[in-house]
Amino acid sequence: MLTKRIIPCLDIKDGKTVKGVNFVGLRDAGYPVELAKLYAEQGADELVFLDITATVEKRKTLLELVSKVAAELNIPFTVGGGISSKEDVSALLAAGADKVSINSSAVKNPGLINELAQEFGSQCVVVAIDSRRVDGKHIVHTHGGRTPTELETLSWAREVVARGAGEILLTSMDQDGTKAGFDNELLAQLSAELPVPIIASGGAGIMAHFKDTFTTGKADAALAASIFHFKEIGIPELKHYLQKEGITVRPVS
C-alpha cells in the first residue's frame, strides 16, 4: 500500500536553513546538508528545499547546495524558489534535484507549467500554491504570501493540473506559523477533485495534526519545517504515532 509521506521543509537563505513565523523574523535552524542527512536517517520520506528569499531578491537557488545534497542524500528531494524558466529547471535537475517547485512564476506565466511538464515530465513538476482567505474566499498569493492575486485557489489548482503539474504543494498562509493544524477543509476539497498527490503545508503543531490532515484533509503527504528543525516533534515518534493510529507510513528502520 502506498504510504503517506512526511516531508521536512528546509527554508534556505544564504545557504542556511531558516524558518520564520509567517515568513517574517527568520531564525537560524542549522546547516542544510547535515540537517538533510539527519532527516533521511530519521525516516523522512522526502525533503523540500525552498529558497524563500529567491523570488523577492531575484536570486537563483544555489546549485552548489543542490549538488552537495544530491551527493549525500538517499531519498528524493524537491527544490523551489526563484525558478522562472526551463533553463533554471534544467540546471537544478542536472545538479541532482528530483523535482522542482514553482509558485509565483507559474501564476505570472502559466504556460511555464506546460513547458516544464513536456520537457521534463509531470513527475518532477510540483506547483506550490500559497492560499489565504480573503472575504471568505481562498485566494492565491504570490511572493512568499505577500501579494494577493485574482485567482481562487481551487480553480487555479484545477488549471495547474490540466497544464501538467504532477503534484500540488498547498500552503495555507492563514495557518502557516500558527501551529493550529493544517487547513483540512481546503485540502480535502483539492484532494477529492484532483488526480495528483496533494502535499499539505502550513500549521503543523502537534502529531495529531498530521493524522487529521491524512484522514480529514485526505492529503497524500504533509510538510512541516520549524517543528522538525526545533525538535518539537521527532520524525521517528511521529511515524510510530501515525502507525498506531492506523495510518500507513514507511516504518523507520
Binding site: 500500500m1 502506498l2 504510504t3 509521506r5 533521511a40 520520506d45 544530491a70 551527493a71 549525500e72 538517499n74 531519498i75 528524493p76 535537475l93 542536472a94 545538479a95 541532482g96 528530483d98 521534463f120 515530465g121 509531470s122 513527475q123 518532477c124 504532477g166 503534484e167 488526480p195 495528483v196 498527490p197 497524500d220 503527504a221 514507511r250 516504518p251 528502520s253
Partner: protein, 194 residues
C-alpha cells in the same frame, strides 16, 4: 569493478551516479558500444517518456546493443519498461528483452503512483538480506504486467511487476538510488552478481 551507466536522455543518471559513489563505486557514463560491452555491470537508468527515450536509443544503435549484453544489466524505472516488448506510452515498441506489456494505470487512484510502497514476493539474489518490511520509492504512470519473469510484486491499483529477471537482465520499477537503505541494499546485491 567497472560499472557503466547507459548514457541517454534519462533524467536520473546523476542520481544513480551519486548512489553508486556512496557505495564506493565510480561508474563510467557512456553510450559507446565498446565501453558498455566491456563493463562488468551495466545500469540502464530512466526517467522520462518511452517514445522519446526509444527514439534516442535507436539513433545511437543502443536498441541493438542492450539486448545483446552478456554481463549483469539492471534497468531502473523507465529502464525496466523499455526492456519490455511494448509500452502503451506513445504506443512504443520497446527492446523486447522481457516479453511483457507495459500498460497505463487505470485512473481508479491518483496517477502517477508516487511515493513509498512495499516490494513483495521477492525472489532471487537481487533481494538477498532485504528487510521483510522493505519500502521503495516509486514514481510512474505505467506498469509492467505480472509475467513469468516477475521476481517481485508491488500493489498499486493492481498487483504488477516491481522487478523482472531473465538470465543476466534484471530490472526494477522503483528507484533504488532514492530508496534509502533498502534501495542501497538492492544496488549492493546487483553489484555483487557474477
Amino acid at each position: 569493478m567497472k560499472v557503466a551507466i547507459v548514457k541517454y536522455n534519462a533524467g536520473n543518471i546523476r542520481s544513480v551516479t551519486y548512489a553508486l559513489q556512496r557505495l564506493g563505486i565510480e561508474p563510467c557514463i557512456s553510450d559507446e558500444l565498446e565501453t558498455l560491452r566491456s563493463a562488468d555491470k551495466v545500469i540502464f537508468p530512466g526517467v522520462g517518456e518511452a517514445g522519446t527515450a526509444m527514439a534516442y536509443l535507436e539513433e545511437r544503435n543502443l536498441d541493438q546493443l542492450i539486448p545483446t549484453l552478456r554481463q549483469p544489466v539492471l534497468g531502473v524505472c523507465l529502464g525496466l519498461q523499455l526492456m519490455c516488448s511494448h509500452s502503451e506510452e506513445s504506443n512504443t515498441p520497446c527492446l523486447g528483452i522481457f516479453d511483457v506489456e507495459v500498460k497505463r494505470f487505470p485512473p481508479r487512484e491518483k496517477v502517477p503512483h508516487m511515493g513509498w510502497n512495499r516490494i513483495e514476493q521477492v525472489k532471487g539474489p537481487l533481494f538477498d538480506e532485504l528487510s521483510q518490511e522493505a519500502y521503495l520509492y516509486y514514481v510512474h504512470s505505467y506498469y509492467a504486467e505480472l509475467s513469468p519473469y516477475t521476481i517481485a510484486q508491488t500493489d498499486y491499483i493492481l498487483p504488477y511487476s516491481a522487478a523482472l529477471q531473465k538470465n543476466n537482465f534484471f530490472a526494477l520499477q522503483a528507484h533504488p538510488e532514492k530508496s534509502g537503505k533498502d534501495g542501497e541494499k538492492i544496488l549492493e546485491n546487483f553489484l555483487r552478481l557474477k
